[in-house]
């Protein structure tokens, strides 16, 4: 075995020394105790002696380089030893037979180990578990064995099935296309608009009673307008009085529209769809009822045409049926406003020294403060409330 040439700990203050020069060259014979190389510590230059007699055959450190204390900077071959194989092709013949065999053996062992250990590891599973695995496409190597003698048994395969189910239930699922579109638009709305919401509770008693009266006068077979239909009628009237809210704002330009294309928010199992009732201001309540119903049905079925989905100037959204009183509806750009309808609640109120029934309804208006200030928004809302409180005014 060649002898290491070690760097002696000559410095008291540091772990590294400067190798000054080699006094012998590889191939030279050296004698034990003979000066082999010189080093510089922080204090002085010193000679280092050879640890063994023989032939200097390898040096690893160049002159004028830093060397670390206790590191190996060269090797000496003892008398009679053959040169061991270098990493290069030279000196191969010189390698002793023993060493060659040892090397070959160790490479073989290394090669065998991975094959034996990892890839051919036997799976111990009961036939019943295997049958279950085959039928359910399970990888039994993932199962935790609890059977006798460390076997994977049926219950372990069943656990795998359970786990797979849970994982599939909890793992991230890509969202549908519609959802992606909704998501994009919602985010855009937040980025592009300056939404402020105005909420007002208002007395819808008269509107409720008005509708009931209308319904009572209808003959059978006639379309029965819903509360929403009445509300759409009122909104259109209000919007005509406040055209600023029936506008679109794009690229810095504000367009006020004469027609009210009322977008209606419809909840479907695919997500929120907003079909547009065009020229709603021209429609009678009966007509509103007539056109709104199929529009909503198409939305739910997913069979709206592009015409029916674009061109909205104002959006109406109703969460009252789901029990919400007030909320902050999100504007649908390039529109500049959206009105949310909340729940109608029946209250008993004290008025004129008596108790009266009052149908109270929450209204939530969101306007884009880029173009609509608080006051115009509030005024619009006030108009809506007045029309709700005195529905007949809608026809005046």
């Amino acid at each position: 075995m060649p002898v290491d040439i070690l760097v002696p700990p000559l410095s008291q203050t540091s772990d590294s020394l400067l190798l000054l020069e080699w006094l012998k060259q590889p191939g030279d014979k050296v004698t034990k105790g003979e000066a082999l190389f010189t080093v510089e510590t922080d204090k002085a230059s010193l000679e280092v002696e050879s640890p063994e007699s023989g032939t200097l055959f390898e040096v690893y450190a160049k002159p004028q380089t830093e060397i670390t204390v206790r590191s190996v900077i060269g090797k000496i071959l003892k008398e009679g030893e053959l040169l061991p194989q270098k990493s290069g092709a030279e000196n191969k013949e010189a390698q002793s037979l023993e060493e060659q065999v040892v090397e070959i053996k160790s490479t073989l062992v290394e090669q065998k180990a991975p094959v034996g250990n990892n890839s051919t590891k036997r799976l111990f599973a009961s036939p019943r578990a295997r049958k279950l695995a085959n039928e359910n496409n399970l990888d039994l190597s993932q199962a935790v064995p609890t059977g006798s003698r460390g076997m994977v048994v049926e219950r372990d395969a069943l656990s795998l099935i359970e786990k797979a189910k849970i994982i599939s239930e909890n793992s991230p699922v890509p969202i549908s296309h519609i959802r992606q579109v909704i998501a994009k638009r919602m985010l855009e709305s937040h980025l592009k608009t300056a939404p402020v919401s105005y909420m007002r509770e208002n007395d819808a008693t008269n509107l409720v009673d008005f509708r009931n009266k209308v319904l009572a006068d209808l003959s059978s077979g006639e379309i029965r307008p819903t509360f929403t239909d009445f509300f759409i009628f009122i909104i259109c009237k209000a919007l005509q009085q406040h055209p600023l809210l029936n506008a679109t704002f794009e690229n810095g330009k504000l367009s006020q529209h004469a027609n009210v294309n009322l977008a209606l928010a419809v909840d479907t199992d695919r997500g929120l769809i907003v079909p547009v009732l065009r020229n709603a201001e021209k429609l009678t309540i009966r007509q509103i009822a007539k056109f709104r119903k199929p529009l909503v049905e198409k939305a739910i079925k997913g069979s709206l045409s592009p015409d029916e989905l674009t061109g909205g100037t104002f959006t109406l959204t109703n969460l009252g049926t789901l029990g919400v009183d007030f909320f902050t509806p999100i504007i649908n750009p390039p529109q500049v406003a959206i009105l949310g309808i909340g729940r109608i609640r029946e209250l008993a109120v004290w008025k004129d020294s008596s108790v009266y029934r009052q149908s109270v309804m929450g209204l939530s208006l969101t306007c884009d403060h880029q173009v609509i200030d608080g006051a115009p928004a509030a005024r619009f809302l006030d108009t809506v409330c007045q029309l709700i409180e005195k529905p007949i005014k809608s026809w005046l």
Partner: protein, 337 residues
């Protein structure tokens, strides 16, 4: 309905068959000597009063003759019920059983049949190695012999009647500790299960087992005393939420494979508990059959609990070590689950 011990049930079976068919007769040692014990375990006691000694034939100690007489008489048209006092003595008559009774029909090309029954008591009962053997395993291996092993009074009567009416040689194994013999002939440590036996005529078919206890976690197949140990073990395990299905095969040849394998398909685990010695016992046969025919349904290794490969010892503490019991069964089942 009467409550009978196995001894009483067997005696009734013999009596009924002898009344029904005059070709039926009994032959064996000490089976009804005047003033004697009516067979080693009193099964044939009193029968000679009704049928006389021409049909209840006592023999000298000549096991070969007992069997040979039965074989010859059966071929010549009679229906003998032969009796060996202890199962261990079947070895004395082995040639007559295995070379003659089992083969006469086959080697004659079906010319003759041998409608005989050989009744043999088995089971370890502190009498020593040569009076203690369970040896069903020897006979389940002989083509041409049927092997029956009832464990209840109902089955004992029904199966003995079926055996007498069967046209083939039937080895009928009775367990000494299940007889319920009374008085002088009662056994220490006997289980003596007394069972309901209908008054009306009935038969239990040879070749059909029965489920004694339903379960879903493991199937046990056991006979005789081991059946009762298995049932006791199952009761205890039920309290731990382990439900064992216990099958009494009743016949070992021909074996009710369908019953056993349907059960294994359900539970996925099979254990055979027998008093016969472990190596090459009938339990080994069932285990091998299962490993072949219901391999895919197995969820655990097939286990056999049996007496070790030693002759049956005498000392009670050694006999306890030799025999399987409730505790050993419970322990084995828990390690399988």
């Amino acid at each position: 309905m009467a409550k009978l011990s196995i001894v009483e049930a067997l005696r009734e079976a013999i009596r009924e068959e002898m009344r029904r068919d005059e070709r039926v007769f009994c032959i064996g040692e000490d089976i009804d000597i005047e003033g004697g014990f009516g067979g080693a375990f009193t099964v044939t006691l009193g029968l000679s009063k009704e049928f006389g000694h021409d049909r209840i034939i006592d023999t000298p100690i000549s096991e070969i003759a007992i069997c040979g007489l039965a074989v010859g008489a059966a071929v010549a048209g009679m229906r003998p019920i032969a009796d060996v006092q202890y199962g261990d003595f079947l070895f004395n008559m082995m040639d007559q059983l295995a070379n003659e009774a089992a083969k006469l029909r086959y080697m004659s090309g079906g010319q003759v049949s041998v409608p005989m029954v050989m009744r043999a008591p088995v089971g370890s009962t502190r009498r020593g190695s040569q009076h203690a053997q369970n040896l069903e395993g020897f006979f389940t291996h002989v083509p041409g012999l049927k092997v029956v092993a009832p464990s209840t009074a109902y089955d004992a009567k029904g199966l003995l009647k079926s055996a007498v009416r069967d046209d083939n040689p039937v080895l009928f194994f009775e367990h000494k500790l299940l007889y319920g013999s009374k008085g002088q002939r009662s056994e220490v440590g006997a289980l003596s299960p007394v069972g309901e036996v209908p008054d009306e005529e009935y038969l239990v078919p040879i070749g059909k087992g029965i489920i004694r206890r339903e379960g879903k976690d493991l199937t046990i197949v056991a006979t005789h005393r081991m059946l009762y140990e298995s049932l006791a073990a199952s009761e205890k395990l039920a309290k731990k939420g382990i439900e064992v299905e216990v099958i009494d095969p009743r016949t070992l040849v021909p074996l009710d494979k369908d019953l056993i394998f349907d059960s294994v398909r359900k539970t996925g685990r099979l254990m055979i508990v027998e008093e016969d010695n472990l190596t090459n016992g009938w339990g080994a046969e069932i285990a091998a059959l299962a490993a072949d025919e219901v391999f895919e349904w197995l969820d655990a290794p097939i286990k056999r609990l049996a007496s070790p490969d030693v002759p049956p010892p005498f000392a009670p503490v050694l006999e306890k070590e030799y025999l399987q019991d409730e505790a050993k069964i419970i322990s084995a089942i828990e390690s399988l689950l």
